[in-house]
């Protein structure tokens, strides 16, 4: 009975559970630290299980439609709506389910890592409430089939993220970083809202499937496209709109930084959803595809080259996050550039997209892991300055091991997960344009060089007097890092299974605009 209810209402519960959890956290927090932590663990675990239930349903039976407020939630066109999907609809296809699954997982890991990480800090109830709201924002963005609803969740994502960035205050520096993030996010949000208004004025609907079906790609549609792409690409941290990422990622608590990576990927999802599903073949896909590719190449190179001279470990990792986003943009951009050519799409376009999408989840795992290791080091030493660190390999062996796994994965060294997705990108993009593939490989080499520096600076060298008291971090922090490290290894050893199981269906869902429309409008 409960299982049936849970399964039938999974899209709604996916948001309702963390939202309820967020609002109840300050109340439960009054009972003490342990009940609050158990509550957070329960809520994040339930959210993850719900996303898994939803993903299983999507991958076995096809897209799941959930109409809020309708008697039959699975029908988009209910009898009292006059044949138009007027209600808010969640349209969870394979791409959405994939994003929701790993987002809720990283959210759970970030929460576990946070349990001991702020023992000397106040306002922990608010911290966890905001973390859950950030999770709500991300999950809403990736599941909704309604453009205005997408904007609302984008705002929840941005506001919760900005508040969490400011959490440590840090003599005002963290607050400044949060202010920049909030300002730019608001700007992006306003552009998205304006684009939504333009499309609503054009097509009398806010539903993505309806607008996609009626899309004419006229003047206002082009303006809306430009607003949506720019706003979301900025939120995703694409060069040259990436400037907020080093400021924000370096000042946020490490668990939050790991989760902010996923928040940025939700915006990246928005870019892909707009290009492939909302506009599809109506837009000048070669030009826009190349625009995304150029953003990707710029992100890869500027990101890694700016990372190399950094002295702050989290700032360095933030630039690498920008660089890795470039791979995703490159892979999916190539898919978009050949969207109208079935032969090229089949020959290498889909593989490039699969590589880009696979890299999204891989990046969430290894970059999340790397940010957590940086957090563990900060937790024990109180510094992020690479010039002041050294010799920690003697006292933080587990953290060192997890760092090595994350570093090798981000550099694309086999057998870790980063290698598998990068290999797919290299080979398929090479067929499209060899130069792009070569740039991607050079960037990987530079990434390895950069992380060799970090490894040497933090862990190598003789044991230092000033860190004589440093020991390994508490178990929950080790557990959070260990889970991500394990997944980083496993996803590298079993790449084809993951591609077959979740990545190919996700890429297929993006390309197949017709199915997305039909799942709402009927005709499947």
């Amino acid at each position: 009975m409960i299982w049936e209810f849970w399964s039938a209402n999974a899209p709604a519960l996916l948001l309702a559970i963390p939202m309820l959890g967020a609002f109840a956290t300050p109340l439960i927090g009054r009972m003490g630290k342990t009940p609050r932590n158990l509550w957070i663990l329960l809520i994040t675990a339930l959210t993850f299980v719900t996303s898994a239930v939803l993903a299983v349903e999507v991958y076995t039976t096809g897209p799941v439609i959930y109409t809020f407020g309708a008697a039959a939630s699975s029908a988009a066109l209910v009898s009292d709506s006059g044949g138009i999907p007027v209600r808010i609809i969640f349209n969870v296809d394979a791409m959405s389910a994939f994003m929701a699954l790993f987002a809720s997982f990283v959210g759970m890991v970030a929460a576990v890592f946070s349990f001991p990480s702020g023992k000397m800090e106040s306002g922990r109830d608010g911290y966890f409430a905001l973390l859950l709201l950030l999770l709500v924002g991300i999950l809403g963005m990736v599941c909704t089939g309604d453009l205005f609803n997408f904007f609302v969740f984008l705002e929840i994502n941005s506001l919760a993220g900005a508040a969490l960035v400011a959490y440590r205050i840090d003599k005002g520096v963290a607050v400044e970083a949060a202010l920049k993030y909030a300002f730019l996010s608001t700007l992006a949000g306003l552009l998205v809202l304006y684009a939504v208004a333009l499309l609503y004025g054009q097509y009398d609907s806010l539903n993505i499937a309806v607008i996609a079906e009626r899309m004419q790609f006229g003047f206002l549609d082009k303006v809306a496209l430009a607003l949506l792409l720019t706003g979301l690409a900025m939120k995703a941290g694409a060069v040259p709109m990436h400037f907020w990422t080093p400021d924000t990622y370096s000042m946020a608590p490490s668990a939050i930084t790991a989760f902010l990576v996923v928040a940025s990927q939700a915006s990246l999802y928005g870019v892909f959803r707009v290009a492939f599903t909302l506009y599809g073949l109506t837009l000048n896909y070669v030009t826009i595809g190349w625009f995304i590719i150029i953003l990707g190449v710029l992100s890869m190179f500027v990101g890694v080259s700016m990372a190399i001279p950094q002295k702050d470990v989290k700032r360095l990792m933030a630039y690498h996050a920008v660089s890795q986003t470039g791979y995703m943009l490159l892979g999916v951009g190539v898919g978009l550039a050949v969207l109208g050519d079935p032969v090229m799409l089949e020959s290498f376009g889909l593989t490039a997209m699969e590589g880009g999408i696979f890299h999204i989840v891989n990046h969430a795992m290894y970059k999340g892991l790397l940010f957590l290791t940086a957090g563990a080091i900060f937790y024990q030493t109180g510094t992020r300055n690479l010039n002041k660190l050294g010799g920690l390999g003697h006292s933080m062996k587990w953290t060192m091991l997890f760092f090595v796994i994350g570093a090798l994965a981000i550099a694309g060294i086999p057998p870790f997960n980063g290698f598998a997705s990068k290999l797919m990108i290299y080979e398929s993009v090479f067929a499209f344009n060899p130069l792009l593939s070569i740039i991607a490989m050079v960037v990987s080499i530079l990434t390895l060089a950069s992380f060799v520096k970090v490894f040497h600076a933090i862990f190598m060298g003789p044991r230092q007097e000033r860190y004589a008291e440093v020991k390994e971090v508490p178990v929950p922090m080790l557990a959070a890092m260990g889970i991500l490290a394990l997944l980083t290894v496993l996803m590298g050893i079993f790449p084809q299974q993951i591609v077959d199981l979740v990545i190919s269906p996700a890429a297929g869902a993006l390309v197949d605009q017709g199915s997305y429309i039909a799942s709402v409008m009927g005709g499947l």
């Binding site: 082009k222 086999p414 060089a449 003789p462 230092q464």
Partner: protein, 114 residues
């Protein structure tokens, strides 16, 4: 279905199992070479101490090569690039907004609005 499948990239293939076998073999060879070395070194003897032309060895903190001392050659070789790119990352919010508006203008042109 094999437990560890070959990843098909459309143009090539990658089998993690084969790579892991190769890695184990390489580690085995490394271990064999290492095991042929001296099993112990004299402890406390003068020969075990670092020799710096008769000077006292610096403390552990001082011997560690800091992060800023690495890759200076790379950044120096790309000085022209870094002299232009680093100042762009000014930390000033209005600069960020300018770049944002610039990209928006570019996308408006690329999307075919103008």
């Amino acid at each position: 279905m094999a437990l560890i499948e070959t990843l098909d990239t459309g143009f090539g293939a990658w089998n993690p199992l084969l790579w892991l076998v190769a890695l184990v073999v390489a580690l085995l060879i490394a271990w064999l070479i290492r095991s042929r070395g001296e099993s112990a070194r004299p402890s406390g003897a003068e020969s075990a101490k670092p020799y710096l032309s008769g000077n006292d060895a610096p403390s552990a903190e001082e011997t560690h090569v800091g992060a800023s001392n690495l890759y200076w050659g790379f950044t120096d070789a790309l000085k022209g690039y870094y002299d232009r790119v680093v100042p762009i990352h000014s930390g000033i919010l209005t600069d960020y907004v300018l770049w944002f508006i610039g990209v928006l203008a570019l996308v408006i042109i690329m999307a075919g609005v103008l």
